[in-house]
Amino acid sequence: MNPARHEICAVALAETFRGDGEILASPIGVLPGIAARLARATFAPDLMLSDGVASLVDAQGAVEGWLPYRTVFDVVWSGRRHVVMGASQIDRHGNQNIACVGDPRKPKAQLLGMRGAPGNTINHTTSYWVPSHSRRAFVPKVDVVTGVGYDRAAALGPRASRFHEIRRVVTDLAVLDFATPDHAMRLASVHPGVSLADVLEKTGFPLVFAEPVPVTRLPTDEELRLLRTVIDPQGRGAKEVPA
């Protein structure tokens, strides 16, 4: 079974939840949602997941709890959550922008607004999913800081930043993290078939990396079976990552 790129991305996103335990996984977007269910079906069985409305649903689809927005905010502030958000822009410190492009007082393009990004990033683990790795998304400086990056968190001091963690950024090309002395973004792995030069070319700032750059792991046969027959038989994940 030859894995497609979106399946490699799904497994890389699922890996962000490894070791999280009994917390609320909040994957925003199609492939992150598939990934969270894959993680729960394999190595992260304790994860809790919403149906996208106001219920917690178990792996069989049974409602196991009530999760209105007020409770979501309570969970955010309690820290027992890992969100995977998108990022219209992200910089080398992991500052994220989903609010608008241009001057926020009169933007060139109004986007989502702040949503929950400030509260998410200062309260609990955050990862990002960028389905199209490009210089448009990976910018030297974001126009608005919605999600807090490591430089901003460090400036707040150890007490205010103690719950801040940007675990990983997964794209259609690579997996990135912040495992460097100053938490600058590092190329953790490139997906099979992707060249280092391609990732560097499509990133608008210098990435930290050490050669040879690891290759993102392939899905296991069991993971592919789950993705194709149980979790995403309609192939919705493929639409987010063109082959």
Partner: protein, 270 residues
């Protein structure tokens, strides 16, 4: 006998004034008081400060030039991620905005409803919310931890409008869908409190369709009740009806086409 607070939509609008700060219940394109919003669109009200988790209510009010300032966590149509009328207004610089973190907005309404000057939170620290909302202040914990937190100021409302599923004539109101959102907080934060409902029922009938837990709005929180069947349409109001996706798509597409907009406006608003 409890007081009968039933009124007409026009009576609600007559209680509002230009320049007021108005909170709008619901969330995105979910259970928005659209019948009252439409009545505001038909009125001469202007220069409003709107406080809400925004949906097409915000887009329509922006399209009609009613909004001077918006306090929000986001504006979205849910099934359509961005509201084109709000985008246009923002991109023209046509209104002042306070884009809060979603949880900060809840906290500001909750502070007002508890008559507190502020409530503390970590949300907002390190982000550009503070830089873009220069009136926001932080507060230092008075205890040994000495932690610095965002002091979200009370968001006091001149008026609140919400749409619920059922109420009695006195204003005891019920949500039958999956989420109350923050409707109780808008009503708690406001001086004048108005709800529209799908159906006004006898008090003794309030438990016919939902448990006591769904009676989250009591009559002490409400000044006026409007019976407005389909009063949230085209936003969703489960279990009474889902979102009218076809009409919402027409609303969104019409933002780029004046003729289509006129047709939509005549049909939906006028």
């Amino acid at each position: 006998m409890t007081r009968d607070k039933r009124m007409k939509i026009e009576d609600v609008v007559a209680e509002l004034r230009s320049g007021m700060t108005i909170g709008i219940g619901g969330w995105g394109s979910r259970r928005k008081p659209m019948a009252i919003v439409r009545a505001i669109l038909r009125s001469s009200l202007e220069d409003l400060t709107v406080v809400t988790y925004g949906g097409p209510d915000v887009g329509l009010l922006c399209a009609a030039g009613k909004v001077r300032k918006l306090v929000t966590g986001f504006v979205s149509l849910d099934s359509i991620p961005l509201d084109p009328w709000y985008r246009q207004a923002r991109q023209k610089g046509a209104l002042e905005v306070r884009e809060y973190d979603e949880g900060m907005l809840q906290w500001g309404l909750y502070a007002a409803s508890l008559r507190l000057p502020f409530l503390p939170t970590r949300a907002g620290l390190g982000s550009d919310v503070l830089a873009l909302c220069p009136e926001l202040r932080t507060v230092t914990s008075p205890y040994d931890d000495g932690e610095e937190l965002v002091a979200v100021p009370a968001i006091e409302l001149d008026a609140a409008i919400c749409h619920l599923n059922r109420a009695d004539a006195a204003g005891n109101a019920q949500f039958l869908g999956p989420d109350l959102y923050f409707d109780d907080l808008y009503l708690g934060a406001a001086k004048r409190r108005f709800i529209s409902v799908e159906r006004v029922v006898a008090t003794s009938e309030l438990l016919a369709e939902g448990s006591v837990h769904t009676l989250r709005i009591h009559r002490g929180m409400v000044d006026g009740v409007v019976e407005a069947p389909r009063g949230a349409h085209f936003t969703e109001c489960p279990p009474d009806y889902g979102r009218d996706e076809e009409l919402q798509a027409r609303y969104a597409a019409a933002a780029a086409d004046p003729a289509a907009w006129n047709a939509f406006y005549q049909e939906y608003v006028s």
